[in-house]
């Protein structure tokens, strides 16, 4: 055996754990090797030193301190056990589910762009006096798919759907449920119900964008100028009910945003002006594109009472079967189980869709209430939406929404928010593409430095027979 192997065996030799043959070989080697013998002595001294180190003894009050600690510090483990033992494995998993759900809700809720809420103010829903008592559906949050709706507490003949229990164990284990009373809860559970009281102060219109739940159904029982019966689905241009932004702000726990006063302009486009949305429009109207999820029917959300549905509306409702509250104020409310998007075979005009020639459009599609003859000085077709969007942006404003006729692809309405100082420039740009007529005067209280919300309604000139 060489020295390296012997040195490896020396610890076990000293510990007396080598078997007989190995022990003899080590001893024979040590007898003739001074280096390994010296190593043996050093190792022996090392062992003696280590074993001879002072042994520290625990303090005299050690046991008492252990007792005190056991009594002082309730184990988190035993605490969890007390919480979860009744259901063994279920509750921890459910607690994890609660945590994940809460995280998702939080993420969606606070990542939703503020601008999504900045759609036409003062929806008729929000103004309906009879619905002010309607509480918020507990736990309703923006951006979430609408599950079975919790019942509205508003006085509505619509039978309230059964309250959805998303917590499978919540009924099975009452004690566990009690323990979780203070825990983050599921949307629509008791915690949400507990919060319903303060939220009941929120106008009924404070339902989230894209959610057409019991609140809307309650609204249909009121003398609202417009009814909202949109099915619960992602917002469509002509179906979703929008709340007043201020009410949304209250619901979201934010200070209500001051909504600028609104001015309605009517623009009858010149024949040469492209009234249809083209791909260029979709790209140019980036402001509006960003709000695609919140696009709504401008007319439905309009605070201006519509004396009578336009021909366009009537035709659109009749042909497409999309009369979702657009022109039928007394229309019965949609059933809760209405198929989302049933009346909206075309969600909206797609970017890149080729623009149709205005001349090819049936004239009756664009008849406005009071058309007047307009000069047709523009020789080149101009994309109206792009022009207006450009003018709005260059004035320092933003386009909040565009309403495009789904059947014809024509631009119907643009809602924009601009600085008051940019008003003249925007009107000038409108005058370049059509004849501008004011529906309402400059709202009171709008002064220099203020913001002005413009509702620009477009129509096409009647085609000469």
């Amino acid at each position: 055996m060489d020295c390296t192997r012997i040195i490896d065996l020396l610890p076990e030799y000293l510990e007396g754990t080598l078997d007989g043959s190995e022990k003899r070989r080590v001893e024979e080697h040590l007898a003739g090797c001074e280096g390994c013998s010296a190593e043996l002595k050093l190792l022996q001294r090392y062992f003696q030193t280590m074993a001879g180190l002072e042994r520290h003894e625990a303090p005299a009050d050690f046991l008492r301190n252990v007792h005190a600690r056991i009594e002082r510090e309730p184990s988190w483990k035993s605490l969890l056990s007390r919480l979860f033992l009744p259901l063994k494995i279920n509750l921890p998993l459910e607690a994890l589910g609660v945590a994940v759900a809460a995280l998702l809700i939080f993420t969606f809720y606070y990542s939703a762009p503020e601008t999504k809420m900045d759609l036409p103010r003062e929806s008729p829903v929000a103004r309906v006096p009879g619905t002010a008592e309607a509480p918020m559906p507990p736990g309703t949050l923006a951006g979430l798919p609408a599950p079975a709706q919790p019942p509205s507490r508003a006085a509505t003949p619509v039978p309230a759907p059964a309250r959805t229990e998303t917590h499978p164990g919540s009924k099975a284990s009452a004690p566990a449920q009690d323990r979780f009373a203070a825990q983050p809860s599921f949307p629509g559970e008791e915690r949400g119900a507990g919060k319903a009281k303060p939220e009941a102060e929120v106008p009924a219109g404070a339902v989230e964008a894209g959610r057409a739940g019991p609140v809307e159904r309650a609204v249909t029982e009121t003398p609202a100028p417009k009814t909202e019966t949109g099915p619960p689905q992602r917002p469509d241009r002509s179906s979703a009910v929008l709340p007043a932004p201020s009410a949304l702000a209250v619901q979201r726990g934010m200070s209500p945003r001051v909504v600028p006063d609104e001015l309605t302009l009517s623009v009858e486009l010149r024949a040469a002006v492209g009234g249809q949305v083209s791909g260029a429009v979709g790209r140019a109207s980036s402001d509006a594109a960003e709000r695609a999820d919140s696009e709504v029917s401008m007319r439905e959300a309009s605070p201006v009472p519509q004396a009578a549905p336009t021909q366009e509306e009537a035709r659109g409702a009749g042909r497409a079967g999309a009369g979702v509250g657009t022109s039928e104020p007394a229309k019965a409310p949609a059933s809760p189980g209405a198929v989302p998007g049933a009346g909206h075979p075309q969600p909206r005009a797609k970017a890149g869709k080729p623009a149709k020639s205005p001349a090819a459009e049936p004239p009756s599609e664009t008849v406005s209430g009071t058309p007047e003859e307009l000069p047709r000085s523009l020789s080149q077709p101009v994309d109206a939406a792009a022009e207006v969007s450009k003018a709005v942006r260059s004035s320092g404003g933003v386009v909040l929404a565009e309403d495009i006729d789904r059947k014809t692809g024509r631009l119907k309405t643009i809602v924009a928010e601009i600085p008051v100082e940019g008003y003249s420039a925007v009107v000038s740009s409108l005058e370049r593409i059509g004849s501008v007529r004011k529906h309402s005067g400059l709202p009171p209280g709008v002064g220099p430095g203020g913001r002005l919300r413009l509702r620009i309604e477009f129509s096409m000139p009647p085609t000469a027979p």
Binding site: Y46, M50, L53, E54, H56, R69, K77
Partner: protein, 202 residues
């Protein structure tokens, strides 16, 4: 390793009997287990953590954990093996904690400022025999502990368990969740590291 440190079979049986009694609700059985093992656990913690106050805290924590998790003891190993595993894990967690590191930095600064501290510089290059002779046991102990403290955590654990506490290789393997061959090879390396640091002192 002195014979009196080796747990005898009778002691092992007695430990298991006390564990059983404790599991049946006899709180005095837990106290007996604490009283029997507190000094070894305390010393182990001291050697692993290098500080009396830390050792006291963590040794208490070890027995608190024993109290809370005794129901997890499966009687497949000796109680002492299970106890050492808890102690090693507790000290390992403590060594990794930021609070421990911060505290150790403060201790190091204090030791530098205090010439009479028993935490002298760990490296003692070829001290003359006269210096060693003049050293008190406490001073020598401090030097060796400093050398132990300077070892990597795993090496330190294995050296302390084997060369100071005298725990069997198999038991160390069970405590550290390493196989026997790994324990032996790492122990050999750790010993060499420690002897290099203590060259001239032992």
């Amino acid at each position: 390793m002195s014979e009196d440190l080796k747990p005898r079979d009778a002691d092992r049986e007695q430990d298991l009997a006390w564990v059983g009694a404790f599991l049946e609700g006899d709180r005095t059985a837990f106290d007996r287990l604490v009283l029997r093992h507190k000094d070894r656990v305390f010393n182990l913690c001291w050697r692993l953590l290098g500080d009396r106050e830390e050792a006291n805290e963590q040794a208490q924590e070890v027995f608190v954990r024993v109290f809370r998790s005794i129901k997890d003891f499966r009687f497949k190993s000796s109680f002492s093996t299970w106890l050492y595993a808890i102690a090693v894990n507790t000290c390992r967690n403590r060594l990794k904690s930021s609070e421990y590191r911060r505290r150790r930095r403060m201790v190091s600064i204090d030791a530098l400022q205090d010439p009479d501290s028993d935490r002298a510089a760990p490296e003692l290059k070829d001290p003359s025999p006269s210096v060693l002779d003049r050293m008190t046991d406490r001073e020598r102990d401090g030097l060796i502990q400093s050398a132990i403290d300077s070892l990597p955590e795993e090496s330190r654990t294995i050296v302390v368990l084997r060369d100071i506490e005298g725990i069997a290789y198999e038991e160390i393997a069970a405590v550290t969740h390493l196989n026997l061959g790994t324990v032996k090879s790492r122990l050999a390396r750790a010993r060499q590291q420690l002897r290099d640091k203590l060259k001239g002192l032992i």
